[in-house]
Amino acid sequence: METVVFLLAATAAVVSALGVVMARNPVHSALSLVGTLFAVAVLFVLQEAHFLAAVQVIVYAGAVVVLFLFVIMLLGVDRHEMLDDPLPFQRPLALAAGAVALFGLLALVGGTVATGGFSARGPALSGSEGNVERIAKSLFTDFIWPFEITSVLLVIAVVGAIVLVREGRPGEAEAEDGDGAPR
């Protein structure tokens, strides 16, 4: 049962991941991305990480990709895509980085079986507490430093985006108000 679900979800994840890079239309790519995220969420459920699965769907499928779609629709980039490469060196670079990532992944997986290996089911599941308690405990004790760094990074990104948008036209925003334009 577990193996069957794993094979189905993994296949779906890989196929839709291929769809993300192969589709000609950006909206189809975004949809394939949702498919990948969903399949990964199923894999999380299979590992009894219910909370991670829910958060995966809420944050990535429910918010991030919807914003992608919003930008695609708002800018109308769905018909003409840029086929000429502005950075000629990026293709070989991407290949090399992909090879390194694949090698690292294989080294990590070691020889453990896809499901039920120690790498996936370690001490995290022993004990009676639920998902949420365990994640909260490790986030706010062992991983408090990376957690805070990440949140600072996100705040910087938000502030930076606002500064870039506002730059060069102080006071102009006030005059624009009331015309019903999205801000």
């Binding site: 809420i58 779609l69 919003f70 998902n131």
Partner: protein, 399 residues
């Protein structure tokens, strides 16, 4: 952790049949509710507008929705020339399936016994039920957005863009409101939330329901729920006067009916979640005659209260302007929800650590006022906008 006793003794054929039966029951319940709701909405709105409303099909026109449904099923389904065909076909289902799935975690009543198995009156009890509803409502956004985009025509596209922005914005407020209740109730399971609000012990139980304990979360949830389901006064997504029909302009026949179904299912699901989180779920006076039935009745009665509010709002309030919508979401609801969340968290820690309420309450009030004052001072001031052809009643616009 709570889990359905049905699954505790292994899974055999009877158990599978019971689960299928429960799924069918919930599905049929939702469908019938939607049929009745559509008729009820037309009747109630007609009453409020001094009209008669549907009165031809059946007694009081109650069969009107059935007639409309049959008509839609036999109509031709057209697909526009410039449409993206696979996505155009997919969109209605992306809308209706999450609406139905989200309802599956809502507890409808207590426990019943079928063929020697005890089971909850609830399709699925999962430890993160509340988050599951949020995830499904997040997926539901795709239905509307993609319908707008895939139609390949301008008004649906505008409706789709509006839907994306609106639903993302209000999902934040909705989520924060839910976190307030969950923090107070100490659990993410829907049944757990109901149990936290206590069994029925006379009318005093009402004071234990969470709309008393976390009132601000309740108010924010109700506002965000109306916006999230794209109902008036937040129905910019399908604003008839501006966008023809919004995202479903190009949809005909059954596909249009599915969108309609999804909208009403979402209303029911969101109301049901409100009842579960804030109004004690199926709790209500216990009556000896048919004891298993009454919780379901109380539950449905509470849900219909919210549904009535939906109809009431629709026939009372004019539609918001786009910038008013965004202001309400980002400048009022989300900051308020975050502040309130902080207050709830302080009380939570306070009661865990045994701090006296005489200290926590003034401290929270003072801190809240301080932050609110700071926010108010730092917000950019704006003059009331006077628009062409408008009266001076536009002072709502201060933020």
């Amino acid at each position: 952790m709570i889990s359905d006793p049905l699954l505790s003794e292994g899974v055999d054929l009877t158990v599978v049949l019971i689960i299928i039966g429960k799924a069918l029951f919930v599905f049929v319940l939702l469908l019938v509710t939607v049929l009745i709701l559509i008729w009820l909405e037309r009747k109630i709105v007609a009453d409020m507008q001094n009209r008669i409303g549907p009165n031809r099909a059946g007694p009081f026109g109650i069969l009107q929705s059935v007639a409309d449904g049959v008509k839609l099923f036999f109509k031709e389904q057209s697909i526009p020339e410039s449409a993206d065909r696979p996505v155009f076909r997919l969109a209605p289902y992306l809308s209706v399936v999450p609406a139905f799935l989200a309802f599956s975690v809502i507890p409808l009543g207590g426990e019943i016994e079928i063929a020697g198995h005890t089971t909850y009156l609830q399709l699925a009890e999962i430890p993160i039920g509340v988050l599951f509803v949020l995830a499904m409502s997040g997926i539901g956004v795709y239905g509307v957005t993609l319908a707008g985009w895939a139609s390949g025509s301008k008004y649906p596209l505008l409706g789709g863009v509006r839907a994306t922005a609106q639903m993302i914005s209000y999902e934040a407020a909705l989520g924060l409101a839910i976190v307030g209740a969950v923090l107070h109730g100490h659990t993410l399971s829907t049944r757990g939330m109901v149990l936290q609000q206590g069994p029925w012990e006379g009318w005093g139980t009402v004071a234990d329901w969470f709309f008393i304990a976390v009132p601000v979360s309740f108010v924010i949830y109700v506002i965000a729920m109306v916006a999230e389901t794209n109902r008036a006064p937040f129905d910019l997504v399908e604003a008839e006067q501006e966008l023809v029909g919004g995202f479903h302009t190009e949809y005909t026949g059954v596909r249009f009916a599915i969108f309609f179904l999804a909208e009403y299912m979402n209303m029911v699901t969101m109301s049901a979640l409100a009842v579960t989180l804030f109004l004690g779920g199926p709790a209500g006076p216990e009556i000896d005659f048919l004891p298993h039935l009454w919780p379901v009745v109380w539950f449905l009665l509470k849900v219909s209260l919210f549904i009535f509010v939906y109809f009431w709002l629709r026939s009372t309030l004019p539609r918001l302007r786009y910038d008013q919508l965004m202001d309400l979401g980002w400048r009022v609801l989300i900051p308020l929800a975050i502040l309130w969340l902080g207050a709830v968290a302080v009380f939570r820690v306070g009661s865990d650590q045994g701090w006296p309420v005489a200290v926590t309450l003034p401290a929270v009030v003072a801190g809240g006022l301080l932050i609110m004052g700071f926010l108010w001072l730092s917000m950019p001031r704006r003059e009331p906008v006077v628009r062409r052809g408008s009266t001076s009643s536009e002072e709502v616009h201060r933020g």
